[in-house]
């Protein structure tokens, strides 16, 4: 069959609607009934700001989150872990710049147990001293693991260079060796009492809810969650960019066979008054596929990299535009010059063909991207944390279809001003000389 078949337009699609309830304790409950999704995804979000962490104890929000299921008033840590596993339950908890997010996945039949255990973890964790010490030690080991990974090390240096050093965003969300060293059990107990509670919280449950009595189950569990000392967290504010962010920082890894490149600048969050819709399209046409501008040259023409990706990374407040990938050490200078040239040239404008391909990709992949209970629950929980309306996802898809080339051009020029924060993780002795005349701004080298 050599005749290329025609493509039929996709059917109209909207993001699954949630049924909204208010639990007795004021918690907002959002239910997504998704037939055929037999593993239920339960999410709890408690808005807050990392800036609320006590002075000197950065990372305490993350550590508190990780300790929620390490022992409760009702169950010891090992007993709790065993109960979760025997009911097929998986629990994760972490924080972003906008608050606490706890996620639970569990087969349909075990929802009552999962809801009960999750409520215990949120309301009555006891933070045994031994578990606190273990989790803090685990974070120290994780810091070493992150330092050893070129991509993680680059991300950390980007944050430190891009954002004002007085700003919380310039330092790791989960804390540093120094701040972790100052955290005590008492501080965790106090942080939990003040910052983890039902005020302003949202619970999301997605999956096949047939026969689960979800509303009754959640009313009796998370609806009875009480935290008398809970103070609602402050609204996060967008981080301030560093005044001297337009520069090159080389993180020295002697003998490295590749250089990890990360190029960044401040970007919008999803509530930007200019509209979010153009940004995922820009990320796609600049660096979202092997045919995007970056990989068309750096991968498919030059063979310098396995792939370079560009993406907008919205926080709850503010965000960044990051281009990253790794190239073999010998071509670092040339690859970086090409990469910066492509990012800068894109300010000249995009083509109608690029607009169409990006709009079609982002718009037509939506049904598949939101096809599972966990993907739907994650998106609705993100909307809750970001304070966005529940029809945001569907309205954003409608706005996407209305985009013109000038919308892409305007949005790109607003973000990509040419003031790049460039971080290179690689063998400084060989790559620094190769940067001569190829990069704007000063070059500094720091230890790994």
């Amino acid at each position: 069959m050599s005749t290329r078949p025609a493509v039929l337009d996709p059917e109209p699609w909207v993001f699954p609607a949630a049924q909204e309830h208010l639990l007795p304790n004021g918690v907002r409950l959002l239910l997504h009934d998704l037939p055929g999704q037999y593993v239920l995804s339960l999410r709890v979000v408690v808005p807050g700001s990392l800036a609320d962490e006590p002075e000197g104890l950065e990372g305490i929000s993350s550590m508190t989150a990780r300790l929620l299921d390490e022992g409760t008033a009702e169950h010891g840590p090992e007993e709790f872990a065993e109960l979760m596993e025997r009911h097929g339950m998986a629990l994760g908890a972490g924080v972003s710049d906008g608050g606490l997010l706890v996620d639970v996945d569990v087969p349909q039949a075990h929802l009552p147990t999962a809801a009960r255990l999750l409520t215990e973890a949120l309301a009555h964790p006891v933070f045994p001293e031994a578990e606190v010490r273990r989790i803090l030690r685990g974070r120290l080991a994780e810091i070493e693991q992150e330092r050893a990974s070129a991509a993680h090390r680059a991300a950390r240096e980007v944050a430190a260079t891009l954002w004002d050093p007085r700003d919380r965003a310039s330092r790791p969300a989960a804390g540093t060796v120094e701040s972790i060293g100052r955290i005590t059990r008492e501080a965790v107990v106090e942080h939990h009492a003040r910052r983890v509670g039902p005020q302003d919280a949202t619970v999301v449950l997605a999956g096949d809810l047939t026969g689960t009595a979800a509303l009754e189950v959640l009313t009796a569990t998370l609806g009875a969650w009480d935290a008398p000392r809970h103070e609602p967290g402050s609204r996060p504010v967008a981080p301030r960019p560093a005044a001297d962010r337009a520069r090159v920082v080389v993180v020295d890894r002697p003998g490295s066979v590749q250089t990890e490149i990360a190029v960044s600048c401040p970007g919008p969050d999803r509530s930007t008054p200019h509209g979010w819709a153009p940004h995922p399209v820009l990320a796609f046409v600049v660096g979202g596929s092997p045919n995007a501008r970056l990989d068309a040259v750096l991968r498919e023409e030059k063979g310098y990299t396995y792939g370079v990706r560009a993406s907008f990374r919205p926080r709850v407040a503010g965000g960044s535009f990051v281009t990253s990938g790794s190239v073999r050490s010998e071509v670092t200078g040339e690859a970086l010059e090409l990469l910066l040239g492509i990012l800068t040239d894109a300010r000249e404008g995009f083509t109608p063909a690029e607009l169409r391909s990006g709009v079609d990709f982002v718009g037509k992949t939506a049904p598949g991207r939101y096809a599972t209970a966990d993907a739907v629950a994650d998106e609705t929980a993100a909307l809750a944390l970001e304070g966005l309306p529940l029809d945001f996802t569907t309205r954003n898809l409608a706005a996407l279809r209305e985009l013109g080339v000038e919308d892409l051009d305007t949005a790109y020029r607003r973000v990509a001003t040419g003031e790049w924060t460039v971080v290179l993780v690689g063998d400084a002795a060989s790559i620094v000389p190769a940067l001569e005349g190829r990069v704007p701004g000063p070059v500094t080298t720091v230890a790994r």
Partner: protein, 432 residues
């Protein structure tokens, strides 16, 4: 009780096995192809070739220019890629229903007529890309080459699983156009391929569409050699130690296991869960929670079809811990499990976690399609997606004891230790 995902299958006259599994909850269809060739089929001197070949499948075919496969499908809302592993190569795309025929046409063009568009330039370019992939994912990662050492240590020289899918730089350099031609003619054939459609499509329509685009491709696969006999467990421990700049000492302790598709492998997986696959596993309770001599302990089993599977435990040492003590603790726990068997709670936890993981995988159309292709290609039985959990639930404590005594004996272990060399004068030295 088995699950009830619909599974319809048919074999076309040219030998192509087709599976259709309707699911109308999302207006998408996943097209997933498994070709019966992976790194286990590679010849000495050409390791990494199956994967390099997979990259070339995106560089154009008779009616499709280089890069067009990605470009055309992504512009229609397709999400797609391909992967290579020991036993197979797979190609997949999830597209809105209206783009299914385009996807089938593009796949059929490259699976039938790749060689028409093959050039030295494309081969050289993708060789460079794959070498960067190797550097990024293996050479420039802490512990990135540990599993390569595991394969080489636990499987004998010359065995199909002795070398990794990514291959070696030398062998990638040695690959020429004539290798691509020979490989395509030998392995890329309808009678060595499974096509699965999962999603918004009815069986009749799905079979007719696959027939329309793939029915004309001639069968030509060589008769595959019979799979190798089951490899017996190691009879004495084997060790490799590497001193490198790593964040902490890490032990990989590997075992030969029964082949994929056997009840014994399922039971061995439960045994590994009891040791390190769960957050309540024995090694986690003892080393991570109580003694705190490790910061992490994990265990995994990978099923393979050619005479052996792989099981391994990974232990990350705490800063002041002696790896020898960790290894000794593992040996003790192996002996204890072999002597006493799993507790009822361990068995229940392993089964419950397997259930959630399995149902989560099947919740996604993409992963469901992939599992259907897997079971059709490797075991000629796509219905296994519905019956696999029954097999897991049937595992008894006695079976776990049996497989532990036979396959997870301390003397059958292969240990690959990555030890922190910061401070050592001469890093990256191998002591075998």
């Amino acid at each position: 009780m088995p699950l009830d995902y619909p599974v319809h299958r048919r074999t076309l006259p040219n030998g192509l096995r087709v599976v259709v599994s309707p699911d109308h909850t999302v207006p998408n269809v996943t097209l997933n192809l498994w070709v019966g060739v992976g790194s286990r089929h590679e010849q000495a001197g050409r390791t990494g070739f199956a994967h390099l070949f997979e990259h070339l499948m995106f560089q154009g075919s008779r009616n499709v220019r280089s890069g067009e496969h990605f470009e055309a499908l992504m512009a229609e809302g397709g999400r797609l890629n391909a992967t290579t592993w020991f036993d197979r190569t797979n190609y997949f795309e999830t597209v809105p229903k209206g783009a299914l025929e385009l996807a089938l046409w593009l796949e059929a063009d490259r699976h039938a007529h790749l060689l028409d568009a093959l050039t030295q330039e494309n081969l050289d370019n993708q060789r460079d890309v794959v070498k960067e992939e190797k550097r990024q994912r293996y050479d420039n990662q802490p512990y990135g080459t540990a599993l390569i050492d595991v394969y080489a240590t636990v499987f004998p020289e010359g065995h199909p699983y002795h070398h990794p899918t990514i291959g070696s730089m030398e062998d990638l350099d040695a690959a020429g156009l004539e290798d691509v031609h020979a490989f395509f003619r030998r392995y890329y054939a309808p009678d060595n391929t499974v096509v699965t459609l999962c999603g918004d499509v009815e069986p009749g329509e799905g079979f007719a569409l696959v027939e329309r685009y793939f029915g004309g491709i001639e069968s030509r696969a060589e008769e595959p050699r019979p799979t190798l006999a089951q490899l017996e467990p190691l009879t004495a421990p084997v060790r490799v130690e590497r001193r490198e700049q790593v964040p902490n000492d890490r032990l990989h302790v590997a075992f030969r296991l029964p082949v994929d598709g056997t009840d014994e492998l399922v039971a061995a997986t439960v045994a590994l869960d009891c040791l390190g696959g769960l957050s309540t596993s024995r090694l986690v309770r003892r080393l991570v929670r109580r003694e705190q001599s490790a910061v992490g302990a994990h265990a995994t089993a990978w099923g393979f079809v050619d005479g052996v599977s792989l099981g391994f435990v990974v232990i990350d040492a705490a800063p002041d811990a002696d790896p020898a003590d960790l290894e000794a603790a593992l040996v003790e726990e192996l002996e204890r499990l072999a002597a006493d068997g799993p507790t009822e709670a361990e068995l229940e936890a392993s089964i419950a976690q397997s259930e959630r993981a399995w149902l989560s995988a099947l919740a996604s159309q993409e992963e469901r399609a992939d599992l259907l292709s897997r079971y059709a290609l490797l075991h000629d039985d796509p219905e296994l997606v519905n019956t696999h959990l029954d097999r897991v639930r049937a595992v008894t404590a006695e079976r776990v004891v049996e497989v532990t005594r036979r396959w997870l004996r301390p003397e059958s272990r292969a240990v690959v230790a990555y030890l922190d060399a910061s401070g050592d004068a001469d890093a990256t030295e191998a002591v075998a």
